[in-house]
Symmetry: C2
C-alpha cells in the first residue's frame, strides 16, 4: 500500500516541483514503484519528467469530475523505470472555480488515489503555490506532507501560516495527516541569511526538520531544460546526492529497506 | 492621474514582490507619490515596507466587499516618504472563494482604485502566484502589467501561457491593458542557463523586454528581514541601482521627468 506524500507551500518558488520530481526519481532508482501526481496547472512536474503537457489528455481534474474514467487510463509511464505520472495541463487552471460549488469539494481527490494505492510504494503530489481547493484536496488525500522551505526570509515568514493551515486540515478533513518533515532548500553555506534560516528552523521545529539539506546546485535548475530528473542528468552532482540522501532518510524513518 | 502597474506571473518566486516594493520605493525616492497595493494573502509586500500584517485591519478585499468603507481609511503611510500602502493579511486567502459567486466578479477592484487615482502618480499592485480572481481583478484594474521572469527554465516555460492569459483579458475585460515590459530577474552572468534565458527572451519578445536586468544580489533578499526596501537598506548595492535604473527606464518610456 502506497504512502501518499504531498509537497505543499503557498510561498512560490521554494522547490516543491524540484523536490517532487527528484524525490520520486530517487525512490524509483531504489526500485520503489512511484507515481507522481501533478496537480499544478503550470505542469512543471509533467515536463520535468519528459512528458509534453497536453490539454487533450485527461488529468487529475477529469478524474475528479468523471466517475466513469478509470485512473489507469490517465496514468502514463515516464522514460524512467518505476516512475509513472498523472500529468497536468493548462486547463487545470479552471478547475478550482468549478470545484467551489461541488459537494464534498475538499475530498474529491482521495477516492481517485485510493484506486491505485496498491499498485505503488509511493505516490507524490506536487502542488501549486496556493492554498486553494486543489492543494486542500491534496492535503486531504495525503498521509504525510513535506514542506520545502527556501533559505530566504520570506519563506521563513510564511512557514507559521502554513503549519496553521495544516493543523486545521488535521483537526477536520484529514485527522491522520502528519508532517513528514520541513526540507530546507537552495542552501548556500556562504550566505549569512541562509545560515540564519537553517538555524531558526532547527531551533523552532527541532526534529520536524529533515537532517538532509538541499544545497543550491546549478544542475538542479538545468535538468528541467533537458526534461529529466537530476539523477538522470548528472548522478554525481551535489543535487542528486542530496535528493538520494533525502529518499534514504525517509526510508529509514519509515523502517523500509 | 496615477498610472496603475500590475506585477503578475503565476510562476512562484520570480521576483513579483521584490520588484513591487523596490520599484515603488524608487519612484517614491524620485518624489513621485506612490501607492503599493498588496493583493497577496502572504502579505510579503506589507511586511517588506515595514508594516505588520494585521487581520483586524481592513484590506483590499474589505474595500471590494463594502461600498461604505472609504479607501482613505484603509491606506497607510509607510516609514518611507511618498510611499503609501493598502496592506494585506492572511484572511485575504478566503476572498477568492467568496468572490466566485459575485456579480461582476472580475471588475470589483477597479472602482476602488479609481477613488484614489488622482492622489498618486503610480499605483503598484503586487499579486500572488496564481491566475485566480484577485490576480484577474488586478489585471482588469491596471493600465499596464510588468512580468518578472526569473532567469530559470521553468519561468521561461510558463511565459507563453501568461501572455495568452493577458491577451484574453485585453480582448474582453480590459482592452486598454498593455504589457509595460518583461523584466529579467535574479540574473547571474556566470551561469550558462541564465544567459540562455536572457537571449531567448530578447529574441522572442524583442522590445517588450526591459533593457534593465535585475542581477542576483544578496542585499535584495536581506532587505525584507530588516523590513525595508533595498534603497533604504543599502542604496549603493547592485540591487538598488538596478531597480533605480528600471524606474528611470519606465519614466523615460512614459516621457516623465
Ligand atoms: N537546490 C536548488 N538549486 C538550484 N536551483 C534550484 C534548486 N531547487 C530549485 N531550483 C530552481 O529554482 C526554481 C524554483 O524551484 P521550483 O520550481 O521547484 O519551486 P516550486 O516551489 O515548485 O515553484 P512554484 O511555487 O512556482 O510551483 C526552479 O527554476 C528550479 O529549477
Ligand atoms: N534579484 C534578486 N537577487 C537575490 N534574491 C532575490 C532577488 N529577487 C528576489 N529575491 C529573493 O528571492 C525570493 C523570491 O522573490 P519574491 O518573493 O520577490 O518573488 P515572488 O514572485 O513575489 O514570490 P511569490 O510567487 O511567492 O509571490 C525572495 O526570498 C527574494 O528575497
Ligand atoms: Mg512548482
Ligand atoms: Mg510575492
Amino acid at each position: 500500500m502506497a504512502k501518499i506524500i504531498c509537497l505543499a507551500n503557498q510561498k512560490g518558488g521554494v522547490g516543491k516541483t524540484t523536490t517532487a520530481i527528484n524525490l520520486a526519481a530517487s525512490f524509483a532508482a531504489l526500485e520503489y514503484k512511484t507515481l507522481l501526481v501533478d496537480t499544478d496547472p503550470q505542469a512543471n512536474s509533467t515536463s520535468g519528467v519528459g512528458l509534453e503537457p497536453d490539454e487533450e489528455k485527461a488529468n487529475i481534474y477529469d478524474l475528479i469530475l468523471d466517475d466513469e474514467l478509470s485512473v489507469h487510463e490517465v496514468i502514463e509511464h515516464t522514460p524512467f523505470p518505476n516512475l509513472d505520472i498523472i500529468p497536468s495541463a493548462r486547463d487545470l487552471a479552471g478547475a478550482e472555480i468549478e470545484m467551489v460549488g461541488m459537494e464534498n469539494r475538499e475530498r474529491l481527490m482521495r477516492p481517485v488515489l485510493e484506486q491505485v494505492r496498491d499498485d505503488y510504494d509511493f505516490i507524490i503530489l506536487d502542488c501549486s503555490p496556493s492554498l486553494g481547493l486543489l492543494t486542500v484536496n491534496s492535503l486531504v488525500a495525503a498521509d504525510v506532507v513535506i514542506i520545502p522551505v527556501q533559505c530566504e526570509y520570506y519563506a521563513l515568514e510564511g512557514l507559521g501560516n502554513l503549519i496553521n493551515t495544516i493543523s486545521i486540515v488535521q483537526r477536520g478533513l484529514n485527522p491522520k495527516l502528519q508532517i513528514e518533515g520541513i526540507l530546507l532548500t537552495m542552501y548556500d553555506k556562504r550566505l549569512r541569511l541562509a545560515n540564519l534560516v537553517v538555524e531558526d528552523v532547527r531551533k523552532h521545529f527541532k526534529q520536524l526538520a529533515f537532517g538532509t539539506v538541499i544545497h543550491r546546485n546549478i544542475k538542479l535548475s538545468e535538468a528541467p531544460s533537458f526534461r529529466m530528473p537530476v539523477l538522470a542528468f548528472d548522478a554525481t552532482c551535489k543535487g542528486a546526492i542530496n535528493y538520494m540522501n533525502l529518499a534514504r532518510e525517509i526510508l529509514d524513518k519509515n523502517h523500509l529497506p
